[in-house]
Symmetry: C2
Subunit: 190 residues, 2 copies
């Protein structure tokens, strides 16, 4: 494993690695793999979509307004943590382009680096794998507002990193994400 040394840049040296991608596209898997690489060199926190829904967004549903509110809350907590030098990794679907752009803008206002990572996979391969059995249910009409089936997913237009999770290994994806962090000066080779 390559050794990294975290740049010392005072209080503002955390960052937000914001994953977006459909259910089952590998956001959580990539998030955990990135955390393993970062943990030896800095404080890391994953804000997972499901966990956040339990603790911060009980009562919110999956309408556009509720999803946007959920993302705003994740963004608020992510900025709080990043302000205290934490490397924050979010792993919620984040289906709306405008909402993601707003999060990027708010991070910039607080001088917090914001790296958008698109976990991309063809819908057919997600339906084929269907790890949690959700696509089957959604296709049968049993889950309303299911992203990619009965609800929109708006792919990012210029993400900082794209990982083709249906075509490449987790290790390849992680390597490219770490490269992006290094290019931004958020990690430097030790």
């Amino acid at each position: 494993m390559i050794e990294y040394e975290r740049r010392e840049a005072g209080r503002g040296s955390g960052f937000i690695l914001w994953f977006t991608g459909m259910s089952g596209a590998g956001k959580s898997t990539l998030a955990k793999a990135v955390r393993r690489e970062l943990e030896p060199v800095c404080s890391v926190e994953i804000l997972d979509g499901d966990e956040v829904r339990t603790f911060l967004s009980r009562g919110l549903g999956f309408t556009r307004a509720d999803r946007e509110e959920n993302l705003r809350r994740i963004g608020y907590v992510a900025r709080l943590l990043a302000r205290h030098r934490v490397a924050v990794i979010t792993a919620a679907i984040s289906p709306y382009r405008d909402a993601r752009d707003e999060l990027r803008r708010l991070a910039a206002e607080s001088s917090i680096p914001f790296i958008e990572v698109y976990a991309q996979a063809r819908l057919e391969s997600l339906i084929d794998r269907d790890v949690k059995g959700l696509y089957k249910k959604a296709l049968a009409g049993e889950i309303p507002h299911f992203t990619g089936i009965s609800d929109p997913y708006e792919p990012p237009e210029s993400p900082d990193v794209v990982v083709r999770t249906d075509e490449e290994t987790v290790g390849d994806g992680v390597a490219r994400i770490l490269s992006a962090l290094r290019e931004r000066g958020l990690l430097s080779r030790g």
Copy 2:
């Protein structure tokens, strides 16, 4: 000013200073004054009741269930931050004993020191001062669920620190809070 040196105790060295007390009792004033003392030695974050309501609890009202949910969310964010060595100061009314005890229990489960500070003032003096003009409105029946008037406030039975904000100066209160932190080994004289 006395110099403090933050105990180095690895990742678990943050803590939660949880204020409770009625509207106008001086929670925010004390919180800011404590922050000024702590900032030279550690990362500090104030989670203010009003700010949290805007960012995390839009849509929640002031019923018992909604207030409890609001406190749970503040508690969740406070634990996240404290896990990353942040000294977290919360300044929400936190009127319910059970809810506060639950927060203390959850902090203990995560090995996070939890210090409950009761900002105590006689109701008459809060009504006299009425800094925000809220008591006048509440007494006129214009604010439903107003703590201490039309909604209960359950004082802590064994708070870690009591500050009599109607009888002592901010400086005296801050000194006692810092003493409590020192006694717990969370700050030590430099």
